[in-house]
Every structure is written in C-alpha cells, then in structure tokens.
Symmetry: C2
Subunit: 335 residues, 2 copies
C-alpha cells in the first residue's frame, strides 16, 4: 500500500445519513490533523462539523487527497460522484477509496488520473506482494486486539490506546488491517483481501522491527470464534507476534455477528485460546486487559459490569472510548 | 474448479529423478484407474511403471487430459515441454497443471487451446468465486486431518482412510485442498491461493450437504502451530465443520518446517487446541486417532512408538501408509 498523501478533503457525497459517512467520521475523530475540510453534494445529510469546501478552496487550503468518506448501498461509485472525482483529479488531488467498486475499474478515472499524473488509492485490495511469514522474532513491542466476535470495537480499542500512549509521550503507532483503518491512517494492510498463504506475512510486513520501547497497536479482525473469518484472526495472532493481547467484547449481542445459532464465547474461553495460540509465536505474550463496548448500556450498568469483570477475570476492564484507555495503557506500560 | 476430465496421460517430461514426478506418483498410487499411460521425454529419469505412450497412442487408449505430473526447479514451463503441450492440445487433450507458471499465462498455449476448443486447468489458483462461510450445519460426516506441522502426511492419511472405507463399502470421498490432491482426484479447492475472506467459505463449498452416512475426508493444510500458514488451517477447522479429527505427526523432525527455532507442539497440545476450536463449528466433534508418518523409523522402532502413543494418549495410533488405516476407520465407523 503506497502511503496516501495528507491532508485530506473528506468527500461526503450525497450521504443519506451520518452513519453512511463513518469513514469520514473515523478520520475526523482519530486523525483530525488530516481532516481539513468536507465536500458535500446537494442533499447530503452527513456533517462532520468541518469547513465546507469546493475543490478550489480545498486545494488552496493544502489538501492533497480527496478521500471517499461515505459508503452507499453496494459500495458503488455513482455517476453523480464521478463528475466530482474527475474534477478533483483535474484539480490535482489524488483519490482514495475503500469501496468494493474500485477506482481502477472506472476507465474514465484511470484515464484522467494518468493524464494528470495523479494516483488512485484503492485500499480495498492489496497493492504489495507480501512475503510468506518467517516467524523471526522482531524488536519493539506489539499489542493485538482480539475479540469474542466481529465488530466489537477492536479498531477503536487500538486507536484509543494509541491516543493515550501518545498523550503520555510513548512511541506508538496504530497499525491498520482493514479498509476504514487504512483510510484513517493512510497506510496498512487490507488483510481480508490478502491471498491465504501470505496473510501472516502481510502482518509481519506491517509491523517490522522497531525501537525496543515502540508499540505497534495492531487492529484486530474477525474472531478466533467466528467461523467465517477465524483464519484471518489466526494470521494476526501469529503474524503479529503480540507481546500483549487486549480482549474485546460487546456484552449485549444475542449471537455471533451474521451467524444465528452461534453464541459468543466467554471471555475466559477467548483468553485461553488466544493466549495459547499467541504463545506459539511469542512465548512471553500476556493478556493485559479487557475492552468492553458499552454503547448499548446505561452508564451505571456499564460501570457495574466492568467492575464485576475486573473481579472475575483479575484484569483491568474499561470501555476505552467512553471511560478512557488509561487502565489499558497502565497495564501495557508495565510490561 | 471445473472437474478435470479423466483418464489421464501422465506427463513426466524430462524429470531429473523419481521425486520430481511426485504428482504423477500420487495419481498412480491413489487413482490408478485414471493413470492410463506415461509420456516421457528424452533424458527422463522418472518411471511410474505405466505403458509409455506418445500422444496418438494415448488418444487411442482413451486419455482425455494430459496432466503435468512433474515439477522442475521454479515450477516453470520449459520451451522443450511447450512443444509437447501444444501438440497435445492439437491432438485433442485438455491440459492440467499445478505449476506456479500458469498455463493461462503462456500466450501460445492459450491461442492453441482456444483454436482447438480445449481447456487449460491451472489448479494452482481458484476458478470459482467462493462464498463467505455461513456456518450452517451440513448433513453427512466429515473428517479433517490436522497436523503438528506442515508436510507430516495429512494428505496421505485422508487418502489411506478413503481407500480403506471404500474397501469396506462405506461412502467416502477424499476432498482435496492442495494442488497435488486436486490433480490426483480431478477436483478440489486450492486453499492456499484463496482470498482470506473466502477461505472458510471455500471449504464449505467443497464439502456440501451429503447423505447421512457419507464421509468427506478433508485434506488438511499447514498446522495451527505453524505461524506461516495457521490461518489456512483455521479456515479448514471452521469451514470443514468436522465430526472427527485425526492428529497427524512426524516424530523425527527437529523443528517446524521452514521455521528454525520453532519446536513442534506435543500431540496433547494439538488435540486440545484443535478440538476446542473445532467444537465452535461442531460441538459434537471428537478426536478419533493418531496418524504417524514413520518413514524415517525402522519397523520395530515405529511399532514401539505407536504402542507407546496409544497408551499415553488413549487413542488408536498407526502409520496408515505403512501399517494400514484399519484402526482409524474402525474409530470413524464407530461415530
């Protein structure tokens, strides 16, 4: 993945609601320094609270890349969008997108980008020939977020920890393994699109040797207990060579995401399986804490749940997005 | 993967030794009814003990597909081979290959195949758009071979069990997940070349609903303890939904294949991790036995080792290629 040039103009298109612009929201929340302005088309119902800009004003404000921060149904590039994208290339912007409909599959965009010397970044698919993992021990420290299920807050957990570590002056980098994370940070590995044999190697590539005290905070994917995607998770556990695992959970979910009939594992089961497997690659790996997505719980209820978890599991537990990541960073700093 | 038409003419090319023709050997050992003849070029040092045929005699003998049963260094298609392959297409044969150098990447072969209406089968890469796994319980029975390491005999174990089951009149099919296995049986999923998100789905696709007493005997890949390939293994454990696991081991290996510094797990560790994970997809899954590759042990030594394993693990243990698969099939039939 070639590094995407910053800062960004966030393209919100004709987003039908705020949720459709979650990529733009993620960039604005986690890399506000990249989010210079927003481009909204007629009828756009999303608003990041950023200055509204047209292409000329965004160019003058220093934006280098127009990032498609919105997803419509089916992940396609609509004709209405395409006019704006062509004009952006002509104005001198690169384009970046995580849509299933690749920029490179649109002949008009390819032709204009070539004519204008601009780059089309499709973060949905890999642009690197990753190696096969060699398992050699790397320098520096690594944290991996592992979940009882998909979409329980693993990306937000890693980003919250990065923010808190950086606030403390620690050396730390979020390492993106999914499309949203890559667009937020401008770099990463789209792990779900990597060829099976190269998955663990792509994670080694993403988290190379580093300073002894540097932390790679690796975005998790899937779950070892999610039968559709567990192979991807396994590659993170072994390719990531984590020194520390943070267990991620969403307590109100009735069944595994997309799998009616599959109940979520207990946090104890996740701890035991993930740690056993992680120690194959790094015998020193430990579980340092629990991150709970409490968005569907009242504040009192959430705090009582976290207190009970801490007592039961003997590990610090928090909702890092709601209550801060201090406890998790304290535990990581103690390694 | 489109089914490869049988029977085969086995192309041994200019194989420098018998080992270079291990694909041809596998077909001859496990699907002798497909192996009508062999085609050997000047200087060929391999011999399957089959009738030597030229293209015309093979055609007259009923061969439908020329299978490249030999691998040279780098997996490339040499100019000397290409002449034979072109002539084979013109003679009316399809071609099948597991080489890294794809048939479809050779313009001359593509042109002649098109002109003659023949099919090029590159089993190295998928030709199917596999679904994402849905985890829905399927009918029929499934056995998965899981290993302490790569290349410990998982394919041979599944093939030995298939042979013994068929000899007993049981309904059983070996399900190939690697290039050699696909060429042996003419069908399967090249799992190491599947995109990450679709790995488990491709295994579900390979092992669909079947008669209640039918056994799918699924070829394993990699190992849950091999950090380069464990994600592929994980997808087999969850996508395969096995009712039974057979543990596969090679006792004389000093370290994990290709990973100096990584010791092999114990069979107990493999049993515990594999069973815990397999029960996510199929709570009724059991470990039925142990298959040991004893090729580097004297017969007495091998028998003593197997007896000790049986006592220690409380499971039937055999080298199915050397001593027969009866014990494993007895255990499977009892489920």
């Amino acid at each position: 993945m070639a590094q995407i040039e910053t800062p960004y103009l966030l393209f919100l298109g004709d987003a039908p609601d705020q949720l459709a612009a979650k990529v733009a929201q993620g960039i604005k929340d986690w890399r506000p320094e990249f989010a210079v302005g927003q481009y909204r088309m007629e009828g756009c119902k999303a608003d990041m609270g950023l200055p509204d800009m047209n292409l000329a004003t965004a160019k003058a404000a220093g934006c280098r890349t127009l990032v498609i921060g919105v997803a419509n149904r089916g992940g396609i590039i609509s004709p209405a969008w395409k006019k704006v994208l062509v004009a952006a290339l002509e104005e001198g912007f690169d384009l970046a997108s995580g849509l299933h409909n690749l920029l490179r599959d649109e002949p008009e965009l390819v032709a204009v980008a070539q004519a204008c010397g601009r780059t089309l970044h499709d973060v949905r698919v890999p642009s690197v020939a990753y190696p096969i993992a060699n398992g050699v021990k790397r320098t520096g420290k690594r944290m991996l977020a592992v979940g009882t299920d998909c979409s329980v807050g693993k990306m937000y957990t890693a980003l919250c920890i990065e923010k808190e570590m950086r606030a403390r002056g620690m050396a730390a980098d979020f390492r993106a393994t999914g499309q949203t994370g890559i667009l937020i940070t401008g770099d990463g590995v789209p792990l779900d699109a990597v060829i099976a044999d190269f998955m663990a190697g792509s994670v080694e590539y993403l988290t190379p040797d580093n300073d002894a005290e540097h932390w790679d905070l690796i975005e998790g994917q899937g779950s070892l207990f999610h039968v559709s995607y567990s192979g991807v998770t396994m590659a993170l556990v072994h390719g990531g060579q984590p020194d520390a695992l943070v267990l991620c959970h969403e307590p109100t979910r009735p069944h595994m995401r997309g799998l009616p009939g599959y109940t979520l594992p207990s946090l104890e089961a996740l701890r035991d399986v993930a740690l056993t497997l992680a120690r194959v690659a790094n015998p020193a790996c430990v579980v340092v804490g629990i991150s709970v997505n409490t968005q569907h719980m009242a504040e009192d209820e959430a705090k009582a749940y976290l207190a009970r978890l801490e007592a039961e599991m003997g590990l610090p537990a928090t909702d890092p997005f709601r209550f801060g990541a201090e406890k998790l960073v304290d535990a990581l700093a103690a390694i």
